[in-house]
């Protein structure tokens, strides 16, 4: 098989390399950021004594004190708005929004203040704020605990939006996000918090920049673009397709704003086929932007219309229905068939 895994598995012999869950990898990244820069402060609900509802900040308040790791009152706008003031005072706040669906009370401060202050002040005021958001479904949760609101923020100029898919990226990217002078929405795939992987804490000149996508599997027939929780699903789909003789190139987008179109475009020029997947609803989503942009950039290379495999344009459903809402391996393979112009679920389907 030519489709070799190119997940850039880190050399396990690297000093500081260890096996961590994605959750612990973020924890170690936060710890490192707190150690490296006294201006880094963490704010959020239950992030102190409890260590966060997902334990991502476990032990950090104990080791850095309650002024650097602050349990805040239960108000998301308050968390973000306070972070704005701290940033103006020279701090680098890292805010935790406890669950994706809880971010909306803070939406105004994010899109009207955090995103715009640098522009409004003609560059005088920087907003090096990181907003961590556990996101996505697949954990059988109640309402407001499984959402994927990333497109709202990717649509907003002034914000950077990223999502990690594996422990190494989780560690590296949270440190890159905190070090970035721009505000970063950092989407953490909550159903992958317990995924384990080798994590090196060494960042160097060779470390992939935060805004770059990564080709996690090379292929020749179809480009499959994904991010966050669906990267593992996409890799599984690629493996299954390989058994059917279809070679899939999987791209972990990592950055949702800006999007590394160069990497996606280079892949599509090679494969001629594009499938995009995300848990978020389809309408006006990241997939729509990629399909449109890639079509604009290299229409003449496309051998089939781009296909999207996404959550439906419905509110996030009850837990017992989420298996129907969430993209999965079979729906990805169905879309692969579509772009391969093979028989698929829509063959013969009409309005």
């Amino acid at each position: 098989m030519s489709a070799a895994m190119t997940t850039e598995t880190r050399a396990t012999e690297t000093p500081g390399s260890q096996t961590l869950t994605l959750s612990k990898a973020i924890n170690s990244g936060l710890r490192r950021a707190l150690e490296d820069d006294p201006k880094v402060v963490l704010l959020g609900e239950d992030i102190g004594t409890l260590g966060g509802v997902f334990r991502v900040t476990d032990g950090l308040q104990r080791d850095f004190g309650d002024r650097r790791v602050m349990d805040t009152p239960l108000a998301e706008s308050g968390i973000i708005g306070t972070a704005v003031g701290l940033a103006m005072r020279g701090y680098r706040p890292v805010c935790e929004i406890q669950f994706d669906g809880f971010i909306y009370p803070g939406f105004n401060q994010i899109v009207a203040q955090v995103a715009k202050l640098h522009y409004r002040t003609q560059g005088a005021v920087k907003m090096p704020i990181t907003i961590r958001v556990p996101f996505g479904g697949g954990i059988g949760a109640v309402e407001h605990h499984s959402e994927s609101p990333e497109a709202y923020f990717a649509h907003t100029a002034g914000l950077r939006v990223v999502s990690c898919s594996n422990p190494q990226d989780a560690h590296t990217m949270i440190r890159q996000a905190i070090a970035c002078d721009d505000p970063v929405l950092f989407f953490e795939p909550k159903r992958r918090y317990w995924t384990k992987g080798e994590v090196s804490t060494e960042l160097g000149p060779d470390t992939l920049p935060m805004e770059k996508a990564r080709v996690v599997r090379q292929g020749t027939d179809v480009t499959l673009v994904c991010y966050g929780p669906l990267v593992i699903t996409a890799m599984d789909a690629a493996l299954a397709a390989e058994a059917e003789g279809v070679s899939i190139e999987v791209i972990d987008l990592r950055s949702l704003s800006p999007i590394d179109f160069e990497t996606v475009e280079a892949s599509v020029r090679k494969t001629g086929r594009l499938v995009i997947t995300h848990e978020a609803a389809q309408f006006g989503g990241i997939g729509a932007e990629i399909a449109a942009s890639i079509t604009e950039r290299c229409f003449e290379y496309l051998q089939a219309a781009p296909a999207r495999v996404t959550g439906f344009d419905v509110p996030y459903p009850a837990a017992k229905l989420e298996e129907h809402f969430l993209p999965n391996l079979d729906r990805l393979l169905d879309a692969v068939d579509r772009v391969m112009l093979k028989r698929n679920s829509l063959t013969g389907w009409g309005e």
Binding site: P73, Q113, D182
Partner: protein
């Protein structure tokens, strides 16, 4: 250090009291007040003359800016007419290292903080989204979203405390803003963390057309103690009372006493903005009543009774005001038009491939018209 239970002790608010603080009556009578008098003991006739002059100047600026809008030179202007004492009395109590977060009507505050007259103009002429570098004058650029800045002030104050300095953050907002979640969240955060912040509410009785009675059923100052924040209610048209109250709050904040709330009771004598028509909702009798409480007239009366209101002084103040108006007008008309491609500047602090691509493509588009970059 966080409290694990809510305090049942009586608030210090009882020390500050919710009695209406007034040191100078509308007819210019200086009222003695044992608690607040010492805080303005340094304001002698000369200092009073300086405050008077500043109020005249900012009123003249306000008039000129309104005229500029009527002449089509500004897109919009939010007059502060009637609120001169509230803004100058508070802003003149501050130190350079304090930091101010305001809404959009605080042009007298900006003047006191050191914004040039020209710097007041870009936002309203539409040549830029802000007129000054916040770090140059210790004042954030105005927040248009109502109440948002109160959280910024709270966060900044928290940073001051963490830095171990005694600088204070001041949030200016109006009566309408007190209905906003952000203002209430700011008070919760400030109280929980003892942030050295002053919540300075100019209750000018109106949120565009909505009277304060739609926002609050009790005096606004009464709200703060419920958050654990001591509160004062002062005559916002009395520059001395405002200054005294601000100094009380500053002293509390600098000495680790945490946040204080000040309700400066004043009146918006003009429209909400130049786009507004208050004749649709303002009762002329009420307006006339407030005209009798003018913040400048009472200082003039006091200066007169002190024998300080000489013809020479009056002429000098007028001259200064007219010069300010001329400077404002010249500064406004002289503002450069922004270059087209600057629309892409400063969206991000770090290079961004998406914005750069659009800039490059738009430059190519403009080039087809022969427009230079």
């Amino acid at each position: 250090m966080l409290r694990t239970t809510a305090s049942e002790e009586h608030l210090e608010t009882e020390l500050l009291g919710l009695d209406f603080v007034q040191l100078l009556t509308p007819d210019g009578t200086r009222v003695t007040n044992p608690r607040f008098d010492p805080l303005v003991a340094d304001i002698g006739p000369d200092e009073l003359k300086a405050l008077y002059e500043e109020m005249i100047v900012v009123r003249r600026i306000d008039t000129e800016a309104t005229a500029l809008q009527r002449q089509g030179q500004l897109g919009l202007w939010p007059p502060l007419l009637g609120q001169e004492a509230a803004q100058i009395g508070s802003a003149r109590a501050l130190r350079r290292d304090d930091f101010v977060f305001t809404s959009y009507r605080e042009n007298a505050v900006a003047y006191c903080r050191g914004a040039s007259l020209t710097q007041l103009m870009p936002v309203w002429r539409g040549t830029a989204l802000s007129g000054w570098n916040p770090y140059d004058i210790g004042m954030a650029t105005p927040a248009v979203i109502i109440g948002a800045q109160t959280l910024h002030a709270t966060g900044y104050a928290l940073g001051c405390a963490m830095d171990g300095v005694d600088s204070v953050a001041v949030a200016y907002f109006g009566d309408g803003a007190t209905s906003q979640g952000d203002v209430n969240e700011a008070m919760v955060f400030a109280a929980s963390f003892d942030a050295p912040v002053i919540f300075f509410c100019q209750n000018n009785q109106w949120a565009i057309s909505e009277p304060v009675g739609l926002q609050a059923q009790r005096p606004i100052a009464e709200r703060a103690p419920g958050f654990g924040i001591p509160s004062m209610r002062v005559d916002g048209n009395d520059v001395l009372a405002v200054m005294a109250a601000t100094r009380v709050a500053l002293e509390r904040a600098r000495s680790g006493g945490g946040p204080t709330f000040i309700e400066a009771v004043t009146y918006r004598m003009g429209p909400h903005t130049t786009s507004d028509d208050p004749s649709r909702y303002v009762d002329p009798e009420v307006q006339a009543e407030w005209a009798g409480k003018d913040p400048i007239a009472r200082v003039e009366a006091l200066l007169g009774s002190l024998g300080a209101m000489t013809d020479d002084f009056r002429a000098a103040v007028q001259e200064k005001a007219d010069a300010a108006a001329a400077e404002l007008r010249a500064g406004c008309l002289g503002l450069p038009e922004p270059e087209p491609l600057t629309v892409f500047d400063n969206v991000y602090a770090t290079p961004n491939s998406g914005v750069e691509r659009q800039r490059s493509q738009y430059a190519a588009y403009l080039a087809t018209f022969g427009v230079a970059e």
